[in-house]
Symmetry: C2
Subunit: 299 residues, 2 copies
């Protein structure tokens, strides 16, 4: 199987990673990390989420972070996660040009997290996409728990195929498929991508993989063998705490870059610069769970 | 590519894992772990190494551990690592039926660790094999740093091919190829196995992979795609400390079992029993680096 020559990484550590960190990180520190990530060569950075500060206090400074974003070249895209219309409005007011809108593919997860079943969640997503587009923002849509859910187990392929097809019809700039709980394996990655990639046509597919059970990087390789060339990663593998059952960590940005470097695949991102950024962030929140390997090797 | 239906794991945590743990683990605790591993279904357990206690104090109780090994069925094999003739004699006197004899494929590593160049190391290995066979023991031979060395970088394929060929000619029960520094990637695993597996004919090849850079499990998958169906693993991923540059951890036994379970490959080993054993060992040496994922999820 042939592998892609280049891979695009989207940094999600400042959102998916930091949202599980109890100790509040000052906006200046977040902005400093964002600047360093851009300097390292990352072109896509998810910088915050527009959720109620009562639920995720770490993201209460979403507007402040957006106001302080560095001036960059046009090929750098900053995005924010949105889960409802209010989030879309806030992202637009904050001046973002892209939002990441996401729903679950697990009914129980969707009801617990968003208080709605799957059909309603799809309608909800469609409205968010329209609202964001009307506000001049592009939308990356995301499906969560695609390869398994701690509540509902493994979803039937038919459901994922159906949901992918409906999301693609909404007209989005990209589709992210998330293994939110790290329950995917190289076989299931390939099997589901074989069924879903053809539905996506020209819409790029991004894989958002967690390393909860240590299979994250193996799943990246399996996905690349199927032609996927975009992945979400988090600096230092931040995200969730491995000491809590079912809690999850993202695949680490610098470890993923190392995989690509070693396999001769270009990311355009400087491994050492990202690793140093991860190390600095880890030192600022030492109680948090950074599960990446390579940032620890930085001097 | 087709994957094997069954995979055989050799537990090396009590040797390769514990040897880096400064706090001495009582022999009774090691024997308790060995009993639990056998109860979990492991058929091959490397229980100790016969090295000078001055260099590895944790292994000073090699004879005591061997004297206390549980009665088992015939299909369970306990082995000890040996690095010289003295080690072979000690293993024989301790009543072991199998030794693991190992040399490096990196000249600098070999000179630093064993005070001999590669040609001399091969002669040395041949003598150990003969000595062990004469004593009625079977030998698994091992080559270290096959996919890279922190001193010498990546070895030329020709050297590995030559050394594999010579070791196979010595007549050993199995050949282990070690990525001692975690520098392999799925591409290099496949490329080198393509060249070396045909030389091994009927001699089983065991891969000994470290997860230093997070690629251990991805490398397992790549090796299985080439037909390899034997791997060394360590309970809890014990082995080396990820906070020390270049230090290395083995791939975790329970994480590897989970990979196999999820991909429908039979190991005959109970994941939860191994994870509980890892958890108990981790709690007895809390300062040590257990980098596995799944043992943390045990209640």
């Amino acid at each position: 199987m042939s592998l892609p020559e280049t891979v695009i990484l989207t940094e999600v550590g400042l959102r998916d990673g930091l949202q599980s960190v109890a100790e509040l990180v000052p906006s200046e520190a977040k902005l400093d990390a964002i600047q360093k990530l851009v300097d390292a060569g990352l072109k896509q950075v998810q910088v915050t989420s527009f959720v109620h500060p009562k639920w995720v206090p770490q993201m209460a400074d979403a507007e402040e972070v957006c106001a302080g974003l560095p001036e960059t070249t046009e090929d750098v895209v900053f995005s924010g996660l949105v889960l409802n219309a209010k989030g879309v409005e806030r992202a637009s007011a904050a001046g973002l040009k892209r939002v990441d809108a996401s729903i679950s593919t697990s009914d129980t997860h969707s009801r617990k997290n968003a208080n709605m079943g799957l059909d309603e969640a799809l309608k909800h997503l469609k409205k968010m996409v329209a609202l964001a587009n009307d506000a001049g923002m592009e939308v990356r849509a995301g499906l969560q728990s695609v390869w398994g859910c701690v509540y509902d187990g493994y979803p039937p392929d038919e459901r994922i195929v159906d949901m992918v097809s409906k999301v693609i019809d909404m007209g989005v700039i990209a589709l992210s498929l998330a293994d939110s709980t790290g329950m995917a394996n190289p076989n299931s990655i390939k099997q589901l991508l074989e069924k879903t990639l053809p539905l996506c046509q020209d819409t790029p597919v991004v894989l958002h993989l967690h390393d909860t059970r240590g299979l994250g990087i193996a799943n990246v390789v399996a996905a690349m063998e199927m032609g996927v060339n975009q992945f979400d990663t988090a600096l230092g593998g931040l995200g969730g705490c491995p000491f809590i059952k079912g809690a999850t960590g993202n695949i680490a940005t610098e470890d993923t870059i190392n995989l690509m470097n070693e396999m001769g695949i270009d990311t355009g991102v400087d491994l050492s610069k990202v690793a140093q950024t991860s190390k600095a962030l880890q030192e600022s929140v030492p109680e948090s769970c950074f599960t990446g390997k390579l940032y620890k090797m930085e001097n």
